[in-house]
Chain length 379, copies 2
């Protein structure tokens, strides 16, 4: 018997209410019962994104919406600024390259703090850049980027869009699309939305819809104009991922019942407890400006980060994540977004202590959980 | 209390075993547990498709794999032959157009029989055509097309690919990819595979992989080369639709346990009973070469096909489908693919009789179900 606990930065644990809702007999998408569900989902997505505009829904991974944020806005030969400081920032640049858009890369060492002034300088030097592409959280490093501050800069450039990969951000911390002037905000189902992967989202500003009119990159499956027209009739352009949208209805109801501010507070304190527990164990948090979504912890000297992640999973039943690409072996990650509570953090920290002991790391057993309990006593 | 019965041509009813499997706590995709599932799914997809090659898996609707069958094979300026005889044949031509491929359309009246000689003639007149795009079943009309015969013609053209939209074909009737020389065979999860929508598939021949090397249409999310490399490691290029792949594992086990030939026989006799029941009620089957997947029935003189479909759904609990585009109001459809048995057909025919009576159609009550029971007595 081994109970399993999922604290990975996507997929996250799914509430039983959502799992059971999706396990009901499936319904057909071209009928009023489903259209009522889409209507409710549209309203609640606007609440989640903080926008008056429609939030498009795609049957794809989050990357499908990232691709669409390039192919529906730009034309071959355009320039775009990409903030690269991890695996997902690199993805923006790779998508641009695939579609003939010249990426002007802001290369920030992985885990470092993004200074909005660097974006401003790059924009001033490249005022023809049609978009700034960046992450809310760079999931691979656990770093949080200053979306509000960067968006305030981009706002003054009428020929530049502010595009944010909020896949590990929307529903995790404050990221109000309209109030902060985010032109495109992308999300995915398997993070704070507590669903299986398979749905992607994009909130699109009026300014972005204007850019769309001149976009010449070819597209078909991810054609946002057609998706918008259909969504306004509570439909989708192609067969939607029905069961996931039904799960989404349930998950959004739960988020709304808790209240977004309470969700943000909950996740914030869980991540704080995770970070402080790591420090109490003599470990170091990797990101200089850590995101509440996921905590990347530096593997101690002489211990392989992959060994920590694998042992936590295999021997102790807690699924976190390892490091990716250049960080493989150097860090391991514990996520606190989505369907997570204080006992999840205490469980994860316990599993980490058991694992570190096995791997020969010297520390005082219990110091991590003691710190976590202290941090979480009023949560 | 109203029990509901789903006999639409996608989504189809989902077996409780599959629903419950997908309702288990989700697991992470980057670990050995999930990789074992992918390994099994890869093997069973090869069995389903009748191919020794890998069957690619995408987190998207079926249309995503159709798009990929254009964007991963051709280049802007190429020509391709598209068989257009319904909504989905038109989709092939629309995808070609979106990506700068010149579609040479074979326009067949909706519901008519496709004569392979017409394809041969078109190919002879356009030997530079890089592909023939067609459907196994044109879902919008219920017509079955002669894939085997057309593929045998295309086989002799080394510079032309045979591409089949088998979304309403794979797992419905014989369609062995390798034996019939189908270069690309596309499928979707929400049809014979008895799953929710959200997964698309493409079996790809060696000849097609050769074409892929010269393809210059840009792609990123649907990049088949990268998908293949990942699949060979039991992974996917981007986060997979985990819950649907777990459901797929279960559904493929069920298909394998029944045996593909038995599945084909079951669906064939169910569709035959549906057609004969319709005729016994004085109705006409729309397609001249009907597919066992879905039976399109012509609405009787003076009765709106949409009214039949809607009443069957709303008042009598049976979800079929109406007509699309030019067939809206003229036909209604009852599907027999996927998780369907004889009682489903008898139920659907009963609901049709109740509906026709309500709408003032003159017929002998019970004639349809009597015929269905007769057809199904040994099934």
């Amino acid at each position: 018997m081994q109970k399993r606990y999922l604290l990975a930065p996507g997929p996250t644990a799914i509430p039983p209410e959502v799992l059971l809702k999706m396990a009901e007999p499936i319904i057909h998408h071209r009928n009023p019962l489903f259209e009522e569900i889409v209507q409710e989902v549209r309203d609640n997505l606007k609440y989640l994104f903080g926008t008056k505009n429609e939030v498009l829904i795609f049957a794809s991974s989050g990357t499908g919406a990232m691709e669409g944020a390039v192919t529906n806005m730009l034309s071959p030969g355009d320039k775009a600024i990409c903030v690269r400081s991890g695996k997902f920032g690199e993805r923006w640049a790779n998508i641009c390259k695939a579609y003939g858009v010249e990426a002007i890369n802001i290369d920030l060492p992985w885990g470092d703090i993004l200074d909005p002034a660097v974006v401003e300088k790059t924009l001033k030097a490249n005022p023809e850049a049609k978009a700034v592409y960046m992450q809310a959280t760079e999931t691979s490093t656990g770093a949080k980027f200053p979306v509000k501050e960067v968006a305030a800069i981009v706002k003054d450039y009428p020929n530049t869009l502010m595009v944010v990969d909020g896949i590990t951000g929307v529903g995790v911390f404050e990221l109000p699309q309209d109030a902060w002037n985010i032109d495109i905000l992308v999300a995915g189902s398997q993070k704070a939305l507590m669903l299986p992967p398979g749905l992607a989202f994009a909130g699109v500003s009026d300014k972005a819809w204007e850019f769309n009119k001149n976009s010449k990159i070819p597209k078909f499956y991810f054609n946002w104009t057609k998706e918008l027209t259909n969504l306004q009739k509570n439909q989708t352009n192609f067969t939607p991922a029905i069961s996931l949208i039904i799960g989404l209805m349930q998950a959004l109801q739960m988020i709304k019942a808790e209240g977004l501010d309470n969700v943000y507070k909950r996740i914030d304190i869980l991540s704080q407890a995770t970070r402080e527990a790591a420090v109490a164990l003599g470990l170091k948090v990797f990101a200089k400006s850590p995101s509440p979504a996921v905590t990347a912890i530096v593997a101690p000297e002489g211990i392989d980060g992959q060994a920590i992640y694998k042992s936590m999973w295999k021997k102790y039943g807690v699924t976190g994540a390892g490091g990716q690409d250049q960080l493989k072996g150097k860090i391991f990650r514990i996520a606190t977004l989505g369907y997570a509570d204080k006992y999840d953090v205490i469980t994860a920290v316990s599993a980490l202590e058991f694992t570190l002991r096995d791997l020969g790391y010297k520390f005082q057993m219990g110091a991590g959980v003691a710190k976590a309990v202290e941090c979480l006593k009023d949560a």
